[in-house]
Symmetry: C2
Subunit: 397 residues, 2 copies
């Protein structure tokens, strides 16, 4: 046993049966009727579906309440209600972010997630405790799940003096991305908010991921400010705007101008098919225009609400549902966003179903890949770097 | 064995453990520490959750493609594209509506659905074949699932001469409800369309269920016309407007006036948290105003698209998701719509978790009823009229 594998008879998106030869944690060959290398373990895929590992490019591992007993949610309607409620819960009850992010990681692995970008709240109450817990989980699971940590000022940054310094410390200690949040609606000073986070990005040579819930023209103004700074700093390809609800809330012509700005500056949009009656961006319009896209599960069963679970096939379904994407080619587009789109954002250049890529694979029952999105069966086998990390829907690490 | 049952240790919405005594297919008693009647079979509920049977008040059993191999959907974007595509598929391939509705029924039973209102397409091509097939399924499953059949002019009514006569024949032969469809957008003559279907309702003394996809002011005008005719005919409490997308597409004040019309005329709104970027009605606003509400799964894996499945816990989740209902009390509201709301529409006065009601029950694993909406575990036990019809997620009839 040298760790080499030959997985026979699985079907990638083209539907044709193929074999996958894995050597040294990478895909050595993929095609039909591959020979069995010496000492390789052979796994009969039984005609099942082959996916590249799922990429959850937007979640919050530090604050899930998974495993803590049902949390009866009685939170108010505003964004600030949810932020306040969560900070109170954390203050009163304590949330062990190492334990909680570990629970989250196990469920994510069980459902075929091989890569996560997680935001971690940093504020003047929780300090760096959430960050340190998730960094520990990142280390614990490093062979089973790529976790990229974002230093995220969930409670506001300029409005809470001391937050910038904490974010700076997190970035000096392993945070890979700097986060931003509603520069007008929360932080009340959009130009300064963006100048500070772009400054941190430059100081630590890291990417940016800005949560932008601001609606309509206010959000569109923020997109313009972000694009301006991306251009000046030369940060093309290194900025994500998450949610970007404004792209559903201004007129078609203005959306077109904003899309041009996104394309010119290589800015990625993260949309997760958000719950709600508010207008949201059209994933299809953005994707077809060539805007880089990714998606993710957002907060998992936390004080914000119970509606999300760490399953990227469910997320793919929800993005399709929210956007009324019913055609197979449309749902395949969302699958591309939930896999390759996310991998690009996380900077994984070794990702994919071609020789040389790391063997991050998911194998699932089903007639077609789109049917698997609808049925969401337990993942039969999940591999990370060529090692089995989940089997029959259960994490085995 | 006389068919009597005692189910011990289950928890209704209040969370308290209780026993349910079932005699003659009905709930004889419900409370704590009930004695075991002679010859009764005792089932230990193990602290699981108790729901009344789920009510799918809006689906299409005649045309699901379940079990026929994956249908690769390449349909165009318009409502009329979907109608044409489906009629062509039916013309070319044939859909055995008895077989297909039977498959649908088994899956619905497996997930705890005890009542269905199904639309059945009637047009000058399919004639009454779809209707006859579903009526046969209704008879086959009569002890396991209440199926109420709506004579529905999916391809238009006035624009297809001969359709009204076919609908008349269906109503003379067991259709329980008369259906309508976009009186302006599809049938091009709103006053006449509504006059004809209200005429059929009066002739056969049946309820009405009108699919109204028309957006904004056009749909709102249709709501006004429907309310006028409901009042004149004295059909209060007997009319459903399904979808009613216009209630999300006009200004707040106009929605308020339409709500007043709905309340004055006892008109029910069916909303299933529709997929898409278009504005949709606020379920919470309507419910809190006192408008009678129901929900349903709409078409199941048919030529319109693959996004729906016959599972009312999934539907409850999707209504909550589409409406951004995150609080437990809000999700419990949707559960009320998916159970009691639907039962009222179907006219079942023997429905509920109180003595005297028929024993239509669903028992599910979970900590709380809302958690079951999120996790959607296999239904542990489903009873219809006191008889077990599904167990461990499998239909047993």
């Amino acid at each position: 046993m040298n760790g080499d594998l030959l997985i026979t008879n699985v079907r990638a998106l083209d539907g044709n049966a193929c074999d996958v030869q894995i050597h040294g944690g990478h895909i050595a060959a993929i095609g039909s009727n591959l020979s069995v290398p010496a000492d390789a373990t052979v796994i009969d895929g039984g005609g099942r579906l082959l996916f590249p590992g799922f990429v959850d490019a937007h979640t919050h591992m530090d604050k899930t309440l998974l495993g803590l007993g049902w949390y009866r949610n009685e939170v108010g309607p505003l964004l600030t209600d949810k932020i306040e409620n969560e900070r109170r819960l954390r203050r009163e009850g304590g949330i062990d972010s190492h334990q909680q992010s570990s629970r989250h990681a196990r469920l994510a692995i069980a459902t075929g997630t091989t890569h996560i970008r997680t935001f971690v709240d940093i504020d003047t109450e929780v300090g760096l405790r959430g960050f340190e817990g998730v960094m520990q989980t990142r280390e614990d699971f490093r062979d089973a799940l790529d976790i990229q940590v974002v230093a995220f000022p969930q409670s506001g940054m300029l409005i809470r003096p001391g937050t910038v310094e904490l974010m700076d410390t997190a970035l000096a200690n392993g945070a890979a991305v700097v986060g931003g949040l509603d520069p007008s609606a929360i932080d009340r000073d959009p130009a300064k908010h963006l100048d500070v986070i772009f400054g941190l990005a430059e100081k630590y040579d890291v990417d940016l991921d800005i949560h932008l819930h601001e609606p309509g023209d206010l959000g569109a103004f923020s997109v313009e400010l972000i694009a301006e700074r991306t251009k000046v700093l030369g940060w093309q390809g290194r900025v994500v705007i998450s949610h970007a609800l404004c792209l559903g809330g201004v007129d078609d012509a203005y959306v077109g101008r904003l899309i041009d700005l996104l394309l010119e500056n290589g800015i990625t949009i993260m949309s997760h098919g958000p719950s709600g009656l508010r207008p949201v961006p059209s994933v299809k319009r953005l994707y077809e225009a060539g805007v880089p896209m990714c998606t993710g599960n957002d907060g998992i069963r936390d004080a914000w609400g119970p509606l999300n679970m760490p399953d990227m096939l469910l997320r793919t379904f929800l993005v399709a549902y929210r956007n009324n994407l019913r055609r197979d080619d449309e749902i395949e587009m969302v699958l591309d966003i939930a896999t390759h789109g996310g991998a690009r954002v996380l900077g994984d250049t070794n990702y994919g179903l071609v020789p040389g890529c790391r063997a991050d694979l998911v194998i699932v029952d089903g007639e077609t890949h789109v049917e698997a999105v609808i049925d969401r069966p337990p993942r039969w086998l999940v591999l990370k770097g060529g090692k089995i990390v989940a089997r029959e829907g259960e994490c085995v690490v």
